[in-house]
């Protein structure tokens, strides 16, 4: 993950970053330059600052605000894929996900393969929270699911585990190497937050397909694209650079920040 690979910011990096920022005013509007290598270091530096400062603010792991049922949005817009293509998903869907399983593997002591019924038998959490799309719109929904921490504790994390990767059933871009599937990742700080849940119910009924059936992530302190839908595999890893194109998520591989706290 880009923000984590940088250990400490040296004075030189800081100067480069500020000089790059100042100089860029002259070049505003030149898109190739605005996102190009001269400024990439400065932009990543900004992301790192936000991550570090917000983590300080959140050190005591406060809960996000939960709302009264009356405030639930009547028409919660779906984000991203509304209906995954392909036969695999179609088959799972018409069998009401009876044959769907959640794989938990990677740096765990006991790899798991859980059915939807097994997940539903685990202790659940219900929360009415606000969804924040990075485009600017928001909606309130009620989510029921298993706290991710419970699943991770059941599998047991190895000491070198640092990131949780969510692999999804929806292929956003069709490519020969199958690198176009949606995926996302969070670190352990967010993975063990009480409101980080694997949701299988929305507003009191089974999670609708357009919202990620049978299982989606709720990671409430992040913007929308971090909330992976159609999850079928959770992989525990030490580093993200060997997954997908190495930036920690489908959108991250295409320029979006890994840290979604703003």
């Amino acid at each position: 993950m880009k923000a984590r690979q940088r250990r400490l910011i040296s004075r030189r990096q800081l100067l480069t970053a500020s000089a790059a920022t100042a100089g860029s005013a002259l070049l505003a509007g030149c898109d190739d330059i605005a996102g190009g290598p001269p400024f990439r270091a400065a932009l990543d530096f900004g992301e790192m600052l936000s991550l570090r400062l917000q983590r300080l603010l959140l050190a005591r792991q406060p809960l996000v605000r939960e709302y009264a049922p009356a405030l639930i949005s009547q028409d919660f817009p779906p984000n991203g894929t509304e209906m995954p293509g392909g036969f695999t998903y179609f088959e799972l869907m018409i069998s009401q996900f009876a044959r769907w399983r959640l794989t938990v593997d990677g740096l765990v002591d006991t790899p798991l393969s859980l059915s939807l019924a097994e997940l539903k038998a685990m202790p659940a959490r219900t929360q009415i929270t606000q969804h924040n799309c990075d485009e600017g719109w928001t909606a309130i929904g009620q989510w029921t699911g298993v706290p991710l921490a419970n699943v991770l504790r059941q599998a047991g994390l190895k000491p070198e585990a640092r990131y949780i990767v969510f692999h999804c059933l929806d292929e956003m871009v069709r490519t020969a190497d199958r690198s176009g599937f949606y995926y996302e990742s969070i670190d352990l700080f967010d993975a063990f937050h009480p409101q980080t849940i694997l949701a299988y119910e929305m507003n009191g009924s089974a999670l609708p397909v357009r919202h990620g059936a049978p299982l989606r992530l709720r990671v409430e302190r992040h913007v929308g694209y971090k909330h992976a839908k159609f999850i079928n595999r959770i992989q525990v890893v030490e580093r993200l650079d060997r997954i997908g194109r190495g930036k920690g998520g489908f959108w991250e591989d295409r320029g979006y920040q890994w840290y979604g706290g703003i």
Binding site: S18, G29, G35, P62, Y67, L71, P77, G136, G255, I262
Partner: protein
């Protein structure tokens, strides 16, 4: 009658180094924050009031496009009144004259294309620079006495009669000279105070209210602005007020001796023009 009484222009040191540096860094920050902010707005060009807002819900401000007789028409809606804004808002034209359906035109946004990822990158980086610069300015302003000495108006200046006469002077484009020109006039003082302690802090706080991580740590921000969407709308309105301030600021600089004022903000040196002889 006697030539020896013709007053000579006097050169004073008007702006301290800290004020000059933070001023110009602020110029860069605000220009780029505005442009990247408009690019972010373009990703969802509707503003709402309250906690939530999404397509299909009533909105208080929006920019969109429709097709009329095969032609793309830009529409800006304020409350429930529509204005046709083709060419600038909703529909604008690229270099080849092709109509582009986008809220703010590409010459006003950073980046000029529709990259939300890059717009967010720039907006958040510049926000950091802006806040650090602002804290340095405030720290300097409060410790050095700049705020108390140069910005806080005295009781005499706040008398309606005095304010009225300064407003009248501005309207007649007769700006202070001589002794009175050594200090900011009362309109400058009140405006700068409103920007420094009003608009800019509102900008920062309403911006932070849009961050789900920040509101997890400081949920009071929701109550301060009445919800995330209200904060987004206030952020947009306040940005417009800042643009208005900058426009008036630039116009007044141009009308009241542009070179002298520009030099004062670069080198600090400022020429006091002698009083008009009656």
């Amino acid at each position: 009658m006697d030539g020896e009484h013709v007053p000579k222009p006097e050169v004073i040191h008007r702006h301290s180094l800290a004020v000059r540096l933070t001023h110009w860094i602020n110029v860069i920050c605000l220009a780029m924050l505005l442009m990247s902010g408009l690019a972010i707005f373009n990703a969802h060009p509707l503003l709402y009031w309250g906690h939530t807002g999404h397509r299909g819900m009533p909105f208080v401000f929006g920019i969109g496009a429709k097709t009329e007789e095969g032609r793309a028409v830009g529409v800006t809606r304020i409350a429930s009144v529509d204005f046709e804004t083709t060419g600038v808002l909703g529909v604008s034209y690229d270099g080849d004259g092709r109509a582009l359906r986008r809220a703010f035109p590409s010459w006003l946004t950073l980046p000029s294309n529709a990259s939300l990822a890059l717009a967010r990158d720039w907006h958040f980086l510049l926000a950091w620079l802006f806040v650090v610069n602002g804290v340095i300015y405030l720290g300097f302003g409060l410790l050095s006495g700049h705020v108390r000495r140069d910005l806080l108006p005295g009781a005499r200046e706040l008398q309606p009669r005095h304010i009225g006469s300064v407003i009248l002077g501005h309207l007649r484009l007769r700006f202070p000279r001589g002794e009175e020109d050594r200090r900011y006039n009362v309109l400058q003082k009140l405006t700068y105070l409103a920007v420094v302690f009003g608009l800019l802090p509102v900008m920062v706080l309403s911006g932070l209210t849009m961050s789900p991580a920040v509101t997890a740590a400081v949920p009071f921000l929701f109550d301060l602005f009445g919800g995330r969407q209200s904060a987004r709308t206030i952020h947009f309105i306040t940005a417009n007020l800042l643009v208005l301030f900058v426009l008036v600021h630039i116009i007044l600089v141009l009308l009241s001796g542009a070179l002298n004022r520009l030099r004062a903000m670069i080198t600090g040196r400022y020429v006091i023009r002698p009083e008009r002889t009656p």
